[in-house]
Amino acid sequence: MKEKVYALLEEVNKKIVQYEGENMLEDEIVESMEIMDIVVKLEEELGIEIGPEYIVPEYFMTKDTIVKMVEDVRKEQ
């Protein structure tokens, strides 16, 4: 699943997957429209519904926190 999420993130913005730091929001790797693109893509491709409560900074720090978000959404559903 992790690889699938990475691949989807790469489609939105390669830099997200390449990013090695701890907070890609502070480092301005992603912009607001891209966060929307990520959510829409994950929902469409993984068949999940990501509630607005998951779209918070803590889940968008690195590629792996996005993977964690997907896992948490799946647990909930």
Binding site: N13, L25, E31, S32, V39
Partner: protein
């Protein structure tokens, strides 16, 4: 007779009327109208002591209430301001400085060193030091009296097709008449609480700044990072009991698409206005469903006519595929829809939107050629001089007599609300070594800027190279490398073919 020559007269009037009411707020502080006037007077005094009048002054600060004190302080001194954001790439700041030749740069301790890098020959004034000035009321009043309403209040820089940003000059009169028209049309009073989204170097913010200064309303400067996380953004709106917005549609689209309106009650919102790009009906309908009691207003207007020139109050239902009108002009504005032959377009016919009225810019700063191309004599007026601004936007009238935006005539785009000349990005990429030819295209549906290159270089090489040349919002979202660039018979890049190839 109550004619005011300067925006400062309105600030003084509002500060008398509502001294202890919050004017502008950021995360650090709430600044009342009295404090705004006091800070502005100190900054104005500092500039008057430098013996400059009717000169450009750059404000180089992070987005904060301090910017407002500086803008008003510069206006107090009879000079005009240009906001330059500290996150702007150095090369772009340098181009702005070269065009503007500012008399001074106002910055703070934190950004002093950075400001010095661009402007070795331009003297720097520190905000903190200016606040130690002792205002001389009489001198300030004399200075403000010297200002004509046609004198400049600010110069905002927009993207230019040749790679050099254009400085749009705007007078006190242009701003005053625009803000008065908006306040009257939409009943903006001291009760309004705006949530500001537009950066101060972007004309969208003009409404958030000047409608409150004239009416006594309050503007909250929303931390920019909140726009990435709709829940936080809506919680902020609910906490502050914000009742008015003037945002780019992209910001409203993100909130609608991420279903945040289901999670937070923002029924406090009563006036939702938007401008800067096309608002999709699908997302507008989501907003209307969740916040049904708000008034929704679609506005249209280029930086060259101050902020917005037309408005449409949403008064009926729209399907996803319908066109949302941009409406009718504000009271101080006239719209001409001109066909190629210079005659007016009839109902249903496409024509270029040309704008006249008191909110028109005085032209581009230090660019007479560019000014002459865009600001021309009204071809329908043979008897006296009447300037119109040719927007390059095509529109038509619908059966209700409302304007419907159609498209651009050229390669200018609207991306995240910012007006961008694709040529400026092409010029930036073209300036890098080893680039012989490139073409930048825009996908309006996906909101993506695509750069096409036919040279043996890497994406990283270009992205790193142009990072210092163009702002973040102008960076391509994707790069396509081709073996060969398609050309038409004239030897120009065939953009249509290139679009098909993608």
């Amino acid at each position: 007779m109550d004619v005011k020559n300067s925006i400062i007269r309105y600030l003084e009037e509002t500060a008398e009327k509502f001294p202890d009411k919050a004017a502008f707020c950021d995360e650090e502080r709430e600044m009342t109208f009295r404090e705004l006037r006091e800070e502005a007077q100190k900054i104005g005094m500092g500039l008057i002591r430098q013996k400059i009048f009717a000169k450009p002054v750059v404000v180089y600060l992070e987005k904060s209430v301090a910017c407002l004190s500086c803008f008003m302080g510069i206006a107090y001194s009879g000079n005009y301001y240009t906001p330059v954001d500290v996150s702007m790439p150095a090369a772009r700041v340098n181009k702005i400085m070269e065009t503007l030749h500012p008399a001074y740069i106002v910055t703070d301790e934190k950004n002093r060193e950075k400001a010095g890098e661009f402007a070795a020959d331009i003297p720097v004034l520190l905000y903190e030091k200016l606040l130690q000035e002792k205002p001389d009321e009489e001198k300030l009043s004399q200075t403000v009296s010297r200002v004509l309403d046609t004198d400049l209040l600010y110069v905002l820089f927009t993207s230019g097709s040749t790679g050099v940003p254009k400085g749009v000059t705007i007078s006190h009169r242009a701003v005053i008449d625009f803000a008065l028209a908006v306040n009257e049309r939409f009943d903006i009073t001291e009760k309004e609480k705006f949530a500001n989204q537009g950066p101060f170097y972007f004309d969208l913010s003009v409404l958030d700044i000047y409608c409150p200064i004239i009416s006594g309303a309050t503007t909250y400067i929303v931390p920019p990072e909140y726009f990435k996380f709709p829940i936080k953004l809506l919680q902020y709106i609910a906490d502050k009991q914000i009742n008015a917005l003037y945002w780019v549609p992209s910001a409203l689209v993100v909130v609608a698409n991420l279903r945040a309106l289901r999670a937070v009650d923002v029924s406090c919102l009563k006036k939702i206005m938007f401008c800067g790009e096309v608002m999709p009906n699908k997302q507008l309908n989501v907003w209307r469903k969740h916040v049904p009691n708000a008034m929704y207003v679609n506005m249209y207007g280029p930086t060259e006519t101050t902020c917005a020139s037309t408005y449409y109050v949403v008064d009926r239902e729209f399907e996803d595929t319908d066109s949302l009108p941009i409406g009718v002009p504000f009271e101080n504005t006239g719209i001409l829809l001109l066909k190629e032959d210079g005659t007016e377009a009839g109902e249903g016919e496409a024509g270029e939107i040309c704008i006249k009225g008191t909110s028109l810019s005085a032209g581009y700063f230090h660019a007479p050629e560019r000014t002459r191309e865009a600001f021309v004599q009204n071809p329908l007026q043979e008897n006296f001089q009447e300037m119109i601004y040719k927007t390059g936007d095509l529109a038509k009238y619908n059966e209700y007599g409302e304007l419907i935006y159609l498209s651009r005539k050229d390669f200018q785009i609207k991306h995240m609300g910012h007006r961008i000349e694709l040529g400026e990005i092409e010029a930036a990429i073209g300036s890098l070594d080893d680039i012989s030819e490139c073409c930048v295209l825009y996908d309006e549906e996906k909101h993506k800027i695509t750069a096409c290159i036919a040279d043996e270089v890497t994406e990283e090489y270009i992205a790193d190279g142009i990072r210092e040349l163009v702002p973040d919002y102008m960076q391509p979202n994707r790069y396509i490398f081709l073996k060969e660039m398609p050309h038409n018979l004239n030897g120009k890049i065939d953009r249509t073919k290139l679009k098909e190839m993608l």
